[in-house]
């Protein structure tokens, strides 16, 4: 495992990532130009009335009266300086707004992705080792059901069961407001609030990883080196974990990287269900309030996150599988 090979992979992925990132900025900007009404309209609407002059003043203040190309250039210019613009609706810089919400979403996504990978790989392994027998069939059916359930609906059903009927877990929010908890209690409180949203978000991906782990493990198990491993007297457990599972993990990591964007999208809905203070909810609020700077910022940040995660996955793969060459 040479460092130069890894840096080669890094360079290659960077070359691919930069044009995509630029394309995304331009796409988002053009998209939002098509939107009817702007922030000035919304503010005027909320104020109840506005004269033409006030509207013009508002537009001038937000730079909405400039030609499209100038607005794009101004946006790109600000972006180069690390600024995402100013949100007229929240009356604060978009970057600050996003920075407030980002940790919540990352925490939620991280937890649900780990949950999904852990459960999915475990279930997939059980399925592959029992292929064709009843545990396989049972989990197969279960995973297909998980795969078909809308995340927001299972979220609501979990609330009915665990919050309304059983009263075990809170139904929304990120922490108990006004409880004044500290230290371990506060941590536990936060964990209790995260459990249901993370589970609702994870369910779909548990199904995918279980199925994929099963399929790849069966594929790997039929290869020659597994027969060799068995022939030289390794225990079935050793063969299953060290030889089959390890080689089956590669496609699973690829897919997990590709799902990052999907989970971000799922977070929009799940965060709405659980009133979780995160990016997804912010995006939804921004759409409703026509706050384009915020929306652009969220979209851009989400997409950049996806690009970064993809690069990390590429590097991880190059590390896991030495056969992957720099092309």
């Amino acid at each position: 495992m040479s460092l130069s090979r890894l840096s080669g992979v890094l360079r290659k992925t960077l070359i691919q990532a930069v044009p995509t990132a630029i394309g995304i900025v331009i796409l988002n900007f053009l998209l939002l130009q098509l939107a009817p009404g702007d922030a000035a309209d919304v503010m005027a609407g909320e104020a109840g009335a506005a004269t033409e002059e006030t509207m013009a003043m508002l537009r001038k203040q937000f730079g909405l009266d400039l030609p499209v190309l100038d607005q794009l250039l101004a946006y790109l210019g600000h972006l180069a300086q690390g600024s995402l613009g100013f949100s007229p609706r929240y009356n604060m810089p978009v970057a600050d707004l996003i920075a407030q919400r980002l940790p919540g979403t990352l925490l939620l996504m991280g937890l649900s992705l780990s949950l999904a990978l852990l459960l999915g790989i475990a279930l997939g392994t059980v399925m592959a080792l029992n292929a064709g027998r009843w545990p396989d069939r049972l989990i197969s059916v279960g995973s297909l059901v998980f795969y078909s359930v809308p995340g927001f609906w299972i979220g609501l059903m979990l609330i009915v069961l665990f919050s309304v009927k059983l009263g075990w877990l809170p139904s929304g929010g990120a922490e108990t407001i006004g409880a004044g908890l500290s230290g371990l209690d506060s941590l536990l409180d936060k964990a209790r609030h995260m459990l249901l949203p993370a589970a609702s978000l994870a369910l779909f991906y548990v199904a995918i990883y279980a199925r994929l782990t099963r399929a790849t493990m069966l594929e790997v198990a039929s290869q020659d080196f597994i027969r060799t491993a068995t022939a030289k007297g390794l225990t079935p457990f050793h063969v299953a974990t060290r030889h089959i599972l390890r080689n089956a993990l590669l496609p699973v990591t690829t897919l997990a990287g590709m799902h990052f964007g999907g989970i971000l999208g799922g977070a929009v809905v799940v965060e709405t269900v659980y009133s979780w203070p995160g990016l997804g909810r912010l995006a939804f609020e921004a759409v409703m309030r026509r706050d384009f700077n915020v929306l652009l910022g969220v979209l851009l940040l989400c997409s950049l996150l996806v690009i970064i995660v993809n690069m990390v996955v590429d590097l991880l793969q190059a590390w896991l599988d030495p056969r992957i060459e720099v092309r």
């Binding site: 297909l144 809308p150 609501l156 059903m157 995006a283």
Partner: protein
């Protein structure tokens, strides 16, 4: 199944090795791998089909074999029957419940079974839940299938052009596909629908706009491996133009992974539509399963059946679509399912 049958028998005369597709985007064992018919016949598990041992025996075409394999799959058949039932109910909605499903017809908050006139109960405004469910099926299926058709067509157009021509066209289209695919699709979907104002047309169009890249990648990979095959060279040699080669020669041979993807796309389109409606970004003048859940959500503590019932409808329909997709995958890629 007619389409599959015709398209696959087209490839019969030509021996071609299995194109390998890109790493799977979808779950499910090895997508899009086809081998030539001779291989299939040789590898087919004897228990499943009597393999034509005698060389002179007429062997069924790939399409017929796939159809037979599909018909032997009980879960796939059951799921298909259920889908047909849902489609039948959706079509019959104007006869089953001729009145506006948004009209108030009874006492509010009747639980299911409380009043035989409203078997599934009524909501907070006294609207019949069963009527909403039946009319909602129309929206879900309409959006699901239309969005799939649009997305698959766009994906085939982009993927076939990129894969067949290569060069700078390929580079540009791949770049575009990558940009759209990198943006989290549900976030993009929300933005598109919010910009275009929610209506059934915009929702359908927006779902197609976020799903085509998946098809495009798949089709491109298939085309790239198929365009170098002898039968394409032969077609080129006899003077066929690119459009004819793409549509008549390569596409039919790339169809089976596309068909499997299409069935999964309908399922995900239905899920997306329901999530949008749940968020209040559906067509405001129509009942859909998602909007019923969105309305029921406010009353989760007292009347959770309002949320549960339309959710079950979504789960069952999507589950049926996924089962059909699985069965199609097994039927069209038989060597993969052997022994599993």
């Amino acid at each position: 199944m007619g389409v599959i049958e015709r398209s696959l028998s087209h490839s019969e005369a030509i021996v071609w090795a299995g194109p390998t597709s890109e790493p799977l985007v979808l779950p499910g064992p090895g997508f899009g791998l086809l081998t030539n018919r001779e291989d299939d016949a040789a590898n087919a598990p004897d228990a499943q089909a009597p393999a034509p041992v005698v060389a002179t025996a007429p062997s069924p075409s790939n399409g017929q074999r796939a159809l037979k394999a599909f018909l032997r799959n009980p879960s796939g058949l059951g799921a298909l029957a259920f889908l047909l039932l849902v489609a039948g109910i959706a079509l019959a909605a104007p006869f089953l419940y001729p009145d506006d499903p948004l009209a108030m017809v009874g006492r509010p908050f009747l639980w299911p079974g409380q009043n035989p006139e409203f078997p599934l109960g009524t909501d907070s405004l006294g609207r019949d839940v069963a009527a909403g469910l039946v009319w909602g099926a129309r929206i879900s299926l309409l959006v699901g299938f239309t969005a799939m058709a649009l997305g698959v067509s766009a994906g085939i157009a982009v993927g076939a052009t990129a894969g067949y021509f290569g060069g700078w066209i390929d580079d540009a289209l791949v770049r575009l596909t990558e940009v759209v695919q990198t943006v989290p699709s549900f976030v993009l979907l929300v933005v598109l629908v919010a910009i275009a104002q929610p209506s059934i047309t915009t929702v359908t169009g927006a779902i197609a706009m976020v799903t085509w890249p998946m098809v495009a990648r798949l089709v491109r990979a298939e085309f790239r491996s198929l365009r170098e095959k002898d039968f394409v060279t032969a077609a080129r040699a006899i003077g066929s133009g690119p459009v004819r080669i793409i549509l008549r020669e390569i596409l039919p041979n790339a169809l089976s992974p596309i068909i499997v993807t299409a069935s999964v796309l309908v399922a995900s389109a239905i899920l997306m539509e329901s999530a949008l409606s749940f968020l209040g970004l559906g067509d405001p003048n129509l009942v859909s399963w998602g909007s019923m859940i969105g309305a029921g959500r406010e009353l989760l503590r007292t009347a959770w059946y309002l949320t549960a019932i339309p959710g079950f409808a979504i789960v069952l329909t999507v589950l049926a679509l996924n089962l059909v997709g699985d069965a199609l995958n097994d039927a069209l890629n038989p060597h993969l399912s052997a022994g599993r």
